[in-house]
Amino acid sequence: MIAELGLAALWLATALAVLQIVSGVLGLRAGEKGAALAIYARPAAVVQAFLAVLAFFLLLWAFAITDLSIKLVATNSHSMKPMLYKLTGTWGNHEGSMLLWVAVLALSGGLLAGLERRLPHKTMSATLAVQGFVALGFYAFLLLSSNPFERLPIPAVEGTGLNPLLQDIGLAIHPPTLYVGYVGLSVAFSLAMGALIAKQVTPDFAKVMRPWVLFAWVFLTLGITAGSYWAYYELGWGGWWFWDPVENSSLMPWLAATALLHSVSVLAARDALRTWTIMLGVLAFSMSMLGTFLVRSGVLTSVHAFAVDPERGSFILLLLGLYIGGALAIFAVRAGSITEGKRFSVTSRESALVFNNVMLSAILAIVLLGTLYPLLTEAFDVRVSVGPPYFNPAGAIFAIPMFIVMGVGPLLRWKQDKPARIQFELSLIAAVAIAVVSVVAILGDYSILAVLGLALSVALGIAAFLPLRGRKIGRVPLATWGMIMAHFGVAVSLFGMASESAFTEERLAAVTPGSTEQLGDWNIELMGVDPVAGPNWTAVEARLAVSRGDEEPTIINPQARNFWAPAQATSESALVTRWDGQLYAVIGEQSEDGRWQLRVWWKPFVTFIWYGGLLISLGGVLSIVGRVRLDLKRRSAVRKGKARRDDKAALSGAPQPEPAE
């Protein structure tokens, strides 16, 4: 029954998406008067959200009870798996993750339809029509080529299990977080298209769009942070970012969303950058869909590709062509009719934001080029590899000026400012950067990028708090705290990256139990190796006593696991976290002479990379709370004002003038 119910919910949601499109289009046609059918767009979106979420929970239930008559459960789960991984297995495969994607898409659409009351009727109708159109495509994809509820003719006796690499708590949070981010951008896309179609690109529209962009961006940041940490401890070699196509697929929407976030702020505050904001709105969701295409079609080689299928790739490409091709075509035709908006001088906050928008877009272009280039050459039967030695310097060309302007921009005033006004701050930032470069140069011989990264991160970390100078701390708005936090997070993360790449120490050794290895100021003693067993794996587990200097030793237990359903080997690294870095240990195979392969790294400040990611997300959350609170306050003030005017009108019998906004 579960499967049939889920399928029925999906078909019903599809029908409602059609209704939402028709109703939205009619609403747009009829203009402010509204057509008879136009009132159905909002309820259609809300009920759809309920149905799609219901379908997802039904699949979750099927995985929880391991219903082996459903093909997806039989091929991806196993009755012996721990409950947590049975549940996370729901989205550890193509069909389930697409259902999650669709559920989040419908839920965002429903929330937008249910809560948003500020937009003009025309823009709202167009937005809902676009959102319905996007949803329809994904329902079709799910129902026609990736049905998660397909039954087996004969129920399986036992499931085949889940890829062991995916049996990890990292999987429980990383992909769903990322999907929420990807899909949250669909709302920004629909809003941008709605405003473009209705030709109502205004600061009000930007204010409506901003929380959605922030929301998607927070989840993207968290998703990337979690994904990076997961790859770091699960793949067993201590790498946290390799510019792999799948990693890039998650970074590209983030870059576009970051640019969009800043450009939408300019539009909201100053009514400038109208076309640029619309373009970025389209671009951000394009990158989400492109990422989905690259990950699932198998056109690129990646270590993270788990379920690839060219047929599904064709379907996603079709959707990509329909939505992104369509949106860009409308943009090409319509964008000329939208004026650029207000002007500003060179030394103004707008200028700094424009500069960084251009830099972010350039970095996005580099990542896109490097990711897709192998695809281009393969069309000519030539294979090339593009990796860190390309991305790091090419990205740095644009990232370094961006970080500098990022430190200064928030200190500038809107519209027009004089550099002389922030002389003190500028000198402070420059002095800190130069001091760090000198100190690191004395310490040793490190790569230029690492040194620049360290210097910029320290300078940026201080610059992030400079906007507070001369202000009453208690009266700084929450959204400003959000910005400070996010910018500080970028500095923290950058510091971690630069420090890890400059100062990491590595020790590979074949050791006998009882012997001690040295790594920096760490002593690592292999006390013994024992066999251990888990619910669906067996492993050898090393007992390592690690101590730094004269301190008491800590016991850590890295494992080499062998899963049996399906059969695969993984390394479970063991970590010792200190405030100034992490010790990373992996146990390998036993050689014929009885010694064990041991790999140990000391990575100074590596944890800052992910702390930074968390700070950035926290900044986003503060900003959302601040904006929404302000908005609610304003709304209640407007309502009170209106009530008062109505009272007066009732008393005097004559209409009162509306106050200017």
């Binding site: 076309t275 373009m279 389209v282 671009l283 394009s286 295409f293 079609s297 198998g298 056109v299 060219p310 790739g313 064709s314 490409l317 990509l320 062509g321 992104i324 091709g325 860009l328 075509a329 943009f331 090409a332 035709v333 964008a335 000329g336 897709l372 695809l375 281009l376 393969e378 069309a379 039967d381 294979r383």
Partner: protein, 174 residues
């Protein structure tokens, strides 16, 4: 309408066309060796199994062109290609094997079970020759002419339909 606003659309259409082409034609997955049409490097490998000699570059010089088969007993496609190697041997082709990361007893088992098409098998325990000749995996088969030049590379297991092609190439490079 301003032409500059059409640039994103143009770039996107270019990408979509490329991606569509790649999906329709399938990916070019192999990593071909760049050593084809270059001389076989100097090497000497010890025997991989009792009863068959090891091999060196000198074994390929003179006589008819020969096949150099990079394989391993632990490789599943190598089992699939065994009958085809047998067929090539029947046609009078000399096949010299290079066993990658393999133990003598495993090699012996494999030959007992699936037949022995080889005149010699060299043991390459650290993939040295494999890397020297640009072979990215197992099995791969190289055609070596009588002067000791690599003339052709076959990536993956040899299917029945590949046997006449390989015979033709051996004929051509004579």
């Amino acid at each position: 309408m301003r032409p500059v606003f059409f640039i994103p659309l143009a770039l996107f259409l270019f990408f979509a066309g490329l991606a569509g082409y790649m999906l329709a034609n399938g990916r070019f997955e192999a990593v071909p060796s760049h050593m084809v049409n270059k001389p076989l490097p100097e090497f000497t490998l010890p025997p991989a199994v009792d009863g068959l000699p090891g091999t060196s570059r000198a074994d390929f010089i003179g006589g008819k062109p020969k096949l150099l088969n990079v394989w391993a007993s632990w490789c599943l496609p190598c089992i699939a290609e065994a009958p085809q190697l047998e067929a090539l041997k029947e046609e009078g082709v000399e096949i010299i094997g290079i066993a990658i990361r393999d133990k003598p007893e495993d090699v012996g088992d494999f030959l007992n079970r699936y037949g022995n098409p080889y005149t010699r098998i060299g043991a390459d325990d650290i993939s040295q020759l494999q890397i020297e000749i640009g072979a990215a995996g197992v099995p791969e088969t190289f055609v070596i002419d009588a002067k000791g030049n690599i003339r052709h590379q076959h990536i993956g297991d040899i299917r029945a339909s590949d046997v006449p092609k390989l015979l033709q190439i051996l004929e051509d490079v004579q």
